[in-house]
């Protein structure tokens, strides 16, 4: 007798008798693919303005998807099909390139693109009808939206941004190779350096302060206090608000004209001065204050969850050994909370790095350009006729966030798997 424990799920899910699909299912799938293909043609989907990389990307996506759907590439017909798709893609790319880098949906290139798309559809159809043993068929069907989003939204759009950052596109996203000219422009742009400086200040201050305040709050909340729920509610409620609301509210409080400065002076302290919002050197610190108000509660909640996850035995052992409380926190609890600390750091730092809404609402980059941030620089350039410049800045942002993320992904996913 096999018990449930001995069942191997992978084998069970892929057992031969479960992989045979009746003809209606297979033809149904084929019809679905045809419908998707028709829609793709109808909308010129996905990237009409992708320029030279459009057919390449479509082919790439198809390769990955069909790998996942287990189309047997050892068969000659499928190999020929894939090679054909790549050749058609390359021809389209060449035509687009030689026509002076104009966008793909111009007459000649457009036809080739449509032929490519048709070919892709026929290929997928054939694969669907003739290749009966899909492994884990329903699971892949269910995951198709995710695959498309990963391929086209996350990978595809990032690649597009990187590629077009080497163009000189202004108002229209047309591709003409311009090398690293945009990066050079970026390097010489004062506004960009101010933005970088500001975001560094913002990341530094808001991460450190949010960690210190969040951790202190979490430690104090963990001392079996009364009304814990009430305190938590108070610290966390700003997190439910929009950055736009937070920004405007703090702009009102910090405005020297009507807010804190005027009111404190009215109360009698006439020399009181708090004009950071209108001070070019200090405006970014106003963003820090408001961001901290909104975000420190999150750090507190995450830390508190981490503290609660620590075994009581640890505390008992430390007490038996006569270690003072602060020492236990510093030498035992904090090292034990390392995974939580790392995850929280990644969340807070990457959130701080993409700070946008709150700056728009609080200072709108002002006074002048003194509190502008990179994401604002990207946005302004993208939608005011400097597309390639905005994309170059976005590429730098992508690079920096990759530098922060790759170690984390390594720790979280690659190393973590070996332990398990």
């Amino acid at each position: 007798m096999t018990t449930l424990d001995q069942l191997n799920l992978r084998e069970l899910n892929q057992a031969p008798h479960l992989q045979q699909f009746s003809n209606p299912v297979r033809y149904g799938f084929a019809a679905l693919m045809a419908a998707v293909g028709y829609l793709a043609l109808y909308f010129d989907w996905p990237f009409e303005t992708l320029g030279v990389f459009q057919p390449m990307m479509y082919a790439l996506g198809l390769v990955v998807v069909s790998l996942v759907i287990d189309i047997p590439f050892d068969r000659l017909s499928y190999q020929l099909g894939m090679i054909g798709i790549f050749i058609l893609g390359a021809i389209t790319a060449f035509l687009a390139w030689s026509s002076g880098g104009t966008i793909i949906s111009q007459d000649g290139a457009d036809l080739i693109w449509k032929i490519t798309a048709l070919f892709v559809i026929l290929f997928t159809l054939a694969a669907a009808v003739w290749n009966a043993p899909f492994k884990n068929f329903h699971s892949k069907i269910a995951a198709i939206p995710m695959m498309y989003i990963v391929l086209f939204a996350f990978i595809g759009c990032s690649i597009w941004t990187v590629v077009f950052s080497t163009s000189n596109a202004k108002i229209y996203p047309t591709y003409t190779y311009a090398g690293f000219g945009q990066y050079l422009r970026l390097w010489h742009s004062d506004k960009w350096w101010i933005a970088v400086q500001n975001v560094l200040i913002y990341i530094g201050f808001s991460t450190v302060l949010a960690f210190v305040i969040g951790f202190l709050l979490a430690v104090f909340m963990d001392q079996k206090i009364r009304l814990e729920g009430l305190f938590r509610t108070i610290y966390l409620y700003p997190f439910a608000l929009s950055f736009i609301v937070t920004g405007h509210v703090w702009a009102w409080i910090l405005s020297p004209e009507y807010g804190l400065e005027k009111s404190v002076r009215q109360l009698g302290w006439t020399s009181f001065s708090f004009d950071w919002l209108t001070n070019t050197d200090k405006a970014i610190y106003c963003v820090v204050i408001a961001g901290l108000w909104q975000g420190a509660g999150l750090v507190m909640a995450l830390m508190l969850a981490g503290l609660r996850g620590i075994d009581d035995e640890v505390w008992k052992a430390a007490r038996v050994d006569g270690i003072p409380k602060w020492r236990t926190y510093w030498s035992i609890v904090i090292p034990m909370m390392r995974p939580v600390l790392i995850t929280t750091f990644v969340i807070v730092a990457s959130g701080a790095f993409r700070v946008y809404d709150i700056v728009v609402a609080l200072t709108d980059g002002g006074p002048g350009i003194s509190s502008t941030v990179p994401s604002q620089y990207v946005y302004v350039n993208l939608f005011s006729g400097n597309i390639a410049q905005g994309l170059a800045a976005a590429t730098i942002m992508l690079l920096i966030s990759a530098i922060i993320l790759i170690p984390w992904v390594y720790v979280e996913f690659v190393k973590g798997k070996q332990i398990r």
Partner: protein
């Protein structure tokens, strides 16, 4: 038996004294920080009930207690009108202008509703099936896809913003409600998939195996076993998405088009497009109205909300 009755030594934790310095320190720190956290809320609420004269001459700490009768000059002539404490709120909801439009923030409230409801439903529906497929029916490269998805969720939106604009333009939905819903579904997928994948993984494996042995397939297990069991995580996901989408500014301003601006975008326009005297009281009332829905959800869901952000943030 008798050993229990024989113990005369005190047992259990040491009883607390009613006054300890440590406790005083803890509570004073907590209370002071709590007051700092409540301060803006207090200021915003009292400001939204003031009139402009009080705002100009008065103190931001003090609420307005008396509402005078003021002279109002209109085309019809001069009238004496009694002010009410709710005037700024009415104005914010129904009359405040941005540019030439003077309809207040109420149309945008409904736009926000129309954006939020389908976005939440679609993104959760996609994420449930994806998370379920990833957790219980792993296929070739499924982990690779998942890793890219999670990494992608940490990339700044600005990187993918412009290609997404082109994508929605080519689908013919740019500057419509569909575009916003589409974009929210795309960018909400990573966090929701993570949430559901981890939840389904935490369910006992025997459940799934038993269903498989009994002959249930992919969809049947999902709909008849996993979905009914996923109510707690569903609540968390709904809270997460409703507040996230309601508070979104960037996608609203880029993808929705001026006729469909959601509330935060409209709010920002109210602040920036004011001409002449800035009506701080009306603006604060509009701010509260914009924040009301997520705050309402937050105050009434309490623990679920905390669990949502903790589950969304920490890989469980």
């Amino acid at each position: 038996m008798s050993s229990q009755s024989l113990s005369i030594e005190p047992s259990g934790p040491k009883p607390r004294k009613w006054f300890e310095w440590e406790r005083v320190l803890i509570y004073s720190f907590l209370i002071i920080t709590a007051l700092y956290w409540l301060f803006p809320l207090y200021i915003v609420i009292i400001t939204s009930f003031k009139d402009l004269v009080t705002i100009r001459d008065g103190n931001i700490f003090m609420p307005q207690l008396h509402y005078p009768i003021v002279e109002v000059t209109t085309d019809a002539g001069t009238q004496m009108v009694q002010e009410h404490f709710y005037d700024p709120w009415v104005r914010a909801w129904l009359h405040v202008c941005t540019g030439l439009q003077c309809e207040g923030i109420s149309p945008n409230f409904w736009k926000s509703v129309i954006i939020t409801v389908p976005s939440v439903i679609i993104s959760i529906a996609v994420a449930v099936t994806t998370g379920y497929a990833l957790s219980n029916w792993p296929f070739k490269f499924s982990e690779a896809f998942f890793t890219v998805l999670i990494v992608g969720s940490f990339i700044p939106y600005q990187v993918m913003l412009y290609p997404m604009v082109l994508l929605t333009k080519n689908m013919g939905i740019y500057s419509t409600l569909y575009a916003v819903i589409f974009v929210h579904t795309v960018f909400g997928l990573p966090i929701l998939t993570l949430l559901f994948r981890n939840y389904f993984q935490s369910l006992p494996a025997e459940l799934f195996k038993a269903a498989r042995v009994d002959g249930a397939g992919f969809w049947r297990i999902l709909f008849q076993i996993f979905l009914p069991m996923s109510l707690p995580i569903m609540v968390v996901a709904i809270i997460l998405q409703v507040t996230g989408i309601w508070n979104d500014f960037l996608f609203g301003v880029v993808f929705a088009g001026p006729q469909n601006y959601p509330m935060p975008v409209k709010l920002n326009n109210i602040f920036t497009s004011a001409q002449g005297v800035k009506e701080y009281n009306v603006e604060m009332a509009a701010s509260i109205l914009t924040g009301a829905v997520p705050l309402f959800i937050y105050f009434f869901s309490g623990k679920w909300f905390v669990r949502g952000i903790a589950a969304g943030a920490v890989k469980g």
